[in-house]
Assembly symmetry: C2
Homo-oligomer: 162 residues x 2
Amino acid sequence: MSTTKLAVVPPSRISDETLRNFLGYQLKRSFNVIQADLAKTLKPFDLRMLTFTALVFIVDNPGMSQSQLADAMDIERPNLVVIIDELEQRELIVRDRVKTDRRMYALKATLAGKRLCKKAVAADKAHEARLLAGIDKETRKNLMSTLEVLSSHLQNRNEDLT
Amino acid sequence: MSTTKLAVVPPSRISDETLRNFLGYQLKRSFNVIQADLAKTLKPFDLRMLTFTALVFIVDNPGMSQSQLADAMDIERPNLVVIIDELEQRELIVRDRVKTDRRMYALKATLAGKRLCKKAVAADKAHEARLLAGIDKETRKNLMSTLEVLSSHLQNRNEDLT
DNA sequence: CCAAATAGTTACATAACATAACTATTTGTG
DNA sequence: CACAAATAGTTATGTTATGTAACTATTTGG
């Protein structure tokens, strides 16, 4: 049997047995699917995952600062600037100067921002419900609590290091 | 009490209660931490997450094609080209033309590629062990199997749609 | 025989992310 | 009280990941 005959791997025999043991790999596989579907879900609202997350944080925490939001979103402060710029330009949020500390802004959602947020959150809920259809309620619950444990553990580790 | 006094949110009161219910949010939080640490872990090998994943797949599946690898990695084929170019240029892999189908290559790891892969896999294992230290064995096992269920479910859904 | 499909590529655009360096302002210490 | 250090936000820039259009070369199927 010549080696060229075996040169091509049949599709069914592609193995990810090494990678499958890595948490990062499993997270990325799942996250890829969810992220792609979320991009489609948010597109009608002219939102992306980062602008959506920022808006939700601001709606839930009126008066938070840009530094706090960057921390909460786990992104660098310079990268937040364009996100806030975009939400402000669309009149979904406002940057209010803080009288007691003129370096900082208090971020607040406008009425339009709150409304858009509500709709986008509902759409996101539906998108996740669709993706998880076929997984029973008990398993979903276990999934969410397991991920909560994981992300809390990792966040705590991160904070200890800084 | 004037509104300016309440303008600033105390750090301890930032709430992510809306976002915390989203699977995508939880996955992203965890994935952010793992990805940042993995970038540091792979840097001494001059690898990134994508080049590492590609190399592992090729080592485990000698002879696989670029199309198969793109599918396995869930990326678009044009984006695989620079990844394969880089691994080839470093002489970690080779692109062998397939005699029976001159459109395609059979990708194979070189000895140097296999060696680097082995070291990088060990380093990745250690990085994940470090990140998960403090989580007991039973919880880790549950975590991995839960994520396996999730990513299999989502991959199956994706394949059904295409 | 040839249209359709496939494998791989080039070119390009967008978005996410990291870092250096800056201005304006506040804080803390000697 | 003066001022160095720290903080909040910003500009500029580079790197990486990702998506899409259009292309060439080759194979497939009717």
